[in-house]
């Protein structure tokens, strides 16, 4: 199908902005707010995206006490108690980037909290040339099971930069946490030092390229402990392996509570009608997230229940494949005015938060997934969630208790219908989902996990015998 001309124009005009293509009628949606000037036609408003064209300055990280209304004082007291024996101990965390990506985002929150607990934590970032990061990118893909020919040159580049960084950095701390494969070779500094070394692997090692894993493994085996995001992502190793679920920060832009007026404004800007049910999937325009499958499921469900579908994500501007997938999505949507497709820039956390909160049901129909933090975000907002049973999603979505798991377009369509027509069940599941996140997938829980692991490795704790 030939893409509609107006969509292409809109896309060109909104590369940094919001809406890519919708066919909503021009009439204005109902509004909750009053006292505003008469509205311009809907399409007109949507052509002026209110998302800034450049990233806004990040807000200051929250302080520990800010979490008290969320997790309660006893939980905070527990963190303070667990931190007390570590007073005077120092920690170094190392990864490969200070900006962008989930690991840097997580460290930006974790480290201030550890420091506030007086567990002095230093964050170092390894440096390297383009050749190093080309090799590590190839390693990353190969560790996820991709094809790759490991050459001596690639091995030499990897080791040379690890050695350079090792020489450049000081390793005087008591505890070292090395994140992901890029800096894994820094562990060779442990020969000169005491201290305990942990390797935090954020990626899925369930099916690694044997040559790449064979090359990295001897270095991994030198660590005192390893930490994985799921048992399914781990490998058999000599050192103990711990399970730290990825987590979200309930006070981040993407997850904090929002003023209802702001949620309404975002919906108005994007042409979303809040008087009718809203089914939303937030994800990159990537085939593994199956956005076309979501549209098919929506169309099947729509035969029985009136609803709108919002597909919001990024990746179509900076990723050539993303642009192709976006085109496929627009073609699948056809002329349906109730399919709203939004290509958002990476700094749209507040808008994504608002879209999730405005949703009646959230879908994450992935065909392959890491842990699936967008699912965590939806659960945290108490939204009934339908998700593909892949990667780390079943850890979060306990079928029919904290969400529903699906394996097909038809299954997804049925669950959309069911949840939209059984609001009490959906609401209870949403409540359960939020509690599940509160118990297991919040930043503060991970702070506790780190404090416990540090104490265990330093031999500071008497473990409770539970037999």
């Amino acid at each position: 199908m030939e893409p509609r001309k107006d969509r292409v124009e809109e896309r060109a005009a909104e590369q940094t902005g919001s809406k890519v293509g919708t066919q909503r009628p021009v009439e204005a949606p109902p509004r909750n707010g009053g006292g505003e000037a008469p509205e311009a036609p809907f399409r007109e408003r949507r052509k002026r995206p209110r998302i800034s064209e450049t990233p806004p300055a990040p807000p200051p990280p929250p302080r520990l006490d800010d979490y008290e209304p969320i997790i309660g004082k006893p939980e905070l007291d527990e963190l303070r108690f667990l931190a007390r024996p570590l007073l005077g101990k120092t920690v170094k965390m190392v990864n490969s980037t200070s900006l962008g990506g989930g690991v840097a985002e997580m460290l930006n929150r974790l480290i201030p909290l550890l420091s506030e607990l007086e567990v002095v934590t230093r964050w170092d970032v390894i440096t390297g040339g383009n050749d190093f990061f080309e090799v590590t990118k190839a390693f990353h893909n190969a560790l996820h099971g991709g094809d790759y020919v490991l050459t001596k040159e690639a091995r030499d580049i990897f080791m040379m930069y690890n050695e350079q960084n090792r020489q450049r950095m000081q390793f005087t701390e008591d505890l070292f946490v090395i994140h992901d494969p890029q800096p894994v070779g820094l562990v060779r500094s442990r020969e000169r030092n005491r201290g305990k070394w942990m390797w935090r692997c954020h990626i899925d090692l369930s099916n690694p390229h044997p040559d790449v894993w064979g090359f990295l493994r001897p270095m991994v085996e030198e660590y005192d402990a390893t930490v994985f995001s799921s048992p399914a992502f781990s490998r058999q190793l000599m050192a103990p392996q711990y399970l730290f679920f990825p987590c979200i920060d309930p006070l981040s832009e993407k997850n904090k509570e929002l003023d209802p007026a702001y949620i309404q404004k975002v919906c108005d800007d994007f042409g979303i009608d809040r008087s009718r049910p809203i089914v939303t999937q937030i994800s990159r325009f990537d085939r593994l997230k199956d956005p076309v499958g979501v549209i098919q499921a929506y169309k099947l469900a729509k035969k029985y229940v009136d609803c709108q579908l919002v597909l919001a994500g990024g990746g179509a501007t900076d990723d050539p494949e993303g642009a192709i997938v976006l085109q496929e999505v627009m073609e699948a949507a056809g002329e349906d005015p109730d399919v709203i497709i939004l290509n958002l820039p990476p700094w749209s956390a507040l808008e994504i938060n608002a879209l999730q909160r405005a949703s009646t049901v959230v879908v994450q129909k992935s065909l392959k997934e890491g842990f699936g933090l967008t699912v965590t975000e939806a659960l945290w907002k108490g939204k009934p969630t339908i998700a593909g049973a892949v990667g780390g999603i079943p850890t979060q979505v306990i079928h029919k208790l904290t969400g529903v798991l699906v394996h097909s377009v038809e299954g997804c369509a049925y669950q959309i219908r069911y949840l939209l027509t059984h609001p009490e069940f959906a609401e209870q599941m949403g409540k359960n989902g939020r509690e599940h996140v509160k118990e297991n997938f919040l930043m503060t829980t991970n702070v506790k996990r780190w404090l416990l692991l540090f104490q265990i490795l330093l031999g500071m704790v008497r473990k409770e015998k539970t037999t």
Partner: protein, 230 residues
């Protein structure tokens, strides 16, 4: 108009105070995993007791907010990944409060799976939709500032401690005490001579209540007792 006030009843002080603790847990990934029920049975016999604890006692804590029938990880896997509903029901019927040692709990679970496979031998090698990954729990006791020296203080503390503290004293306690009871009931009976409240606590159904419900029920029981004292 002047009103005559009854003198407040004397406070009954406990012979020894109740110190509220909590436990923090860290999950370890074990080497064993099962892709069939046969493999599950073999691993159940081999894994350390901390693993059995994790998938029974501890998982109850992790899912404390669910009223609709979450029991243990083995039952959930048998149902969701193996589609063996009969086995799942039998595993789900295992009540951890009947066990004062993890080893006896292990024996019971092994027995259920073994019996099921004896009757359904073909189920032993049927590959599950998802593997079962055995984990284990390292637990660390965490003291809290809460201390109850009489029933009213005990109730106030009960209202304020974390849900993990409730789990620690009310559910995990039997493994320490080696008794079909809990820390609260033992203290109420031995330090305050309040055996009736202790019994009422022991009759609370943890499988149809969330831990918050458990807390609320216990507080209600205490308040009734305080009211009748007054």
């Amino acid at each position: 108009m002047a009103t005559a006030q009854l003198p407040a009843p004397p406070v009954r002080w406990a012979r020894a105070p109740f110190y509220f603790n909590s436990a923090a847990h860290l999950l370890r990934i074990e080497r064993e995993k099962a892709t069939t029920l046969g493999e599950l049975l073999a691993a159940l016999r081999a894994v350390p007791s901390e693993s059995i604890f994790q998938h029974t006692f501890r998982t109850l804590q992790e899912h404390h907010f669910i009223r609709e029938g979450f029991s243990n990880d083995y039952a959930h896997w048998a149902f969701a990944a193996c589609n063996e509903v009969g086995l799942a029901e039998r595993l789900a019927s295992v009540d951890v409060r009947e066990f004062t040692s993890v080893e006896s709990l292990r024996e019971r679970i092994v027995q259920i799976v073994q019996d099921y496979l004896n009757r359904n031998p073909r189920a032993a090698d049927r590959v599950a939709m998802e593997p079962f990954y055995f984990c284990a729990s390292d637990a660390v006791v965490v003291p809290t500032p809460f201390v109850g020296r009489n029933l009213a203080e005990f109730r106030d503390c009960m209202n304020q401690v974390s849900i993990h503290s409730i789990h620690y004293h009310f559910i995990e306690a039997r493994l320490r005490l080696k008794l079909n009871s809990n820390d609260f009931s033992v203290w109420l009976e031995s330090e305050l001579d309040m055996g009736r409240i202790a019994d009422q606590f022991n009759r609370i159904d943890i499988y149809t209540s969330t831990l918050q419900d458990v807390r609320r029920t216990m507080v209600r029981v205490i308040e009734r007792a305080l009211h009748s004292q007054a």
